[in-house]
Symmetry: C2
Subunit: 219 residues, 2 copies
């Protein structure tokens, strides 16, 4: 067992070095970037599509979609007329920095202000792999339940932004916002939070305006 | 790279050997067992609690709860008066057969007909690790969306039972049952399916009656 620890450290630091290279590449091209994580079905793709719609005309956008298989998500982004790259992880439960390094050259970075990276749907593994983006964003969703911060602390601890999606379902499911937010506060005090419904559009302006301000302040 | 494949095979076959030992132990004690998998928030714990409630008096039950951290779920089962063991994986994204082997002796197997194992909330990693139970059960949920079979094929392929939960939310979310079931059929033709709401109780009898029949036919 003693040999396993250094091997894990070595893999992680190789990933971290590659993440730094991604960040350098993005910064040199003046591209801001966010890594969007969530459990399966929290609404990553729909929220990204609504975000792209709202940012159109304000920022030049690019998309990187991560999935185990299929290119359903990248096709949706491409159908919206945006440069999109699909990463198929071939079963891996998360994106890593090397996968993003392979994907970035396929985007016209000199003509992009903001890249949205959609990670694999998973509340565990992606939290262990920095990929080099400027922000880590977690999308939680109301029907997942209010105990998720307590059960997936690594993910809730590792993000700078938390978007609570599907608030239109609050009347139909048991979800105590106080209990949820207490868990978040313990793990990640001061995390930037937005409550939205990508279905009704509620709360989306606050999120996208904030994101535009981040991109502009990074220039 | 060539050295990685034999190592992975070796880990998996060690897990499979341990899974066989778990099965033997369960069979010797005449205990039937199911491994319940789902993404975070699909309703594993509530469905298990409703199932336990419905089976009370018909079967003697035990519960094994798998989580990254906390013992919230085992406490819920214990509060229902049932023998329950919590496995904290310490960050691992799935249960494996050794974890179950460590947990089983903590249950009074000679006084149990059916053990329900709740795996870690994850649609990817648990599919790669047999733990030795008689059935693998996947809980999908309506608000996750109808594209999940296409995006998480490994999980949908590897189960004998698929429970579609939260059907009470069908009026409030976009979910095309035809599209969903077409994906399931491609990956796993003939999988046993139940559509339920653990909130309203709809469909629960069909699931629990079927489960009792499985336990009885295994005696």
């Amino acid at each position: 067992m003693t040999t396993r620890i250094p091997i894990v450290e070595n893999i992680l630091s190789a990933n971290d070095r590659m993440a730094e290279r991604n960040r350098l590449l993005l910064d040199q091209a003046s591209v801001y970037s966010i890594n969007i994580m969530a459990s399966p079905g929290a609404g990553k793709t729909s929220l990204i599509l609504k975000t792209l719609e709202s940012l159109r005309g304000r920022l030049k956008l690019g998309v990187v979609e991560g999935d185990l298989a299929t290119s359903i998500d990248a096709e949706k982004a491409a159908a919206a007329g945006l440069p999109a790259v699909q990463i198929n992880t071939g079963g891996e439960c998360h994106l890593d920095a090397t996968m993003l390094a392979d994907a970035l050259p396929a985007l016209p970075l000199s003509d992009i202000d903001l890249v949205l990276v959609e990670n694999v749907g998973n509340l565990i593994c992606p939290a262990n792999f920095q990929i080099g983006t400027h922000l880590n964003v977690l999308i939680a969703s109301i029907p997942e339940g209010d105990d998720k911060p307590y059960k997936y602390p690594g993910m809730y601890r590792g993000v700078q932004v938390l978007i609570i999606n599907k608030i239109d379902l609050l009347p139909y499911v048991p979800f105590h916002m106080d209990y949820f937010q207490r868990g978040v506060e313990i793990l990640n005090p001061g995390v930037v939070m937005f409550a939205v419904s990508s279905k009704t559009g509620e709360g989306m302006d606050a999120w996208t305006d904030w994101l535009v301000a981040q991109v502009e302040s990074n220039r």
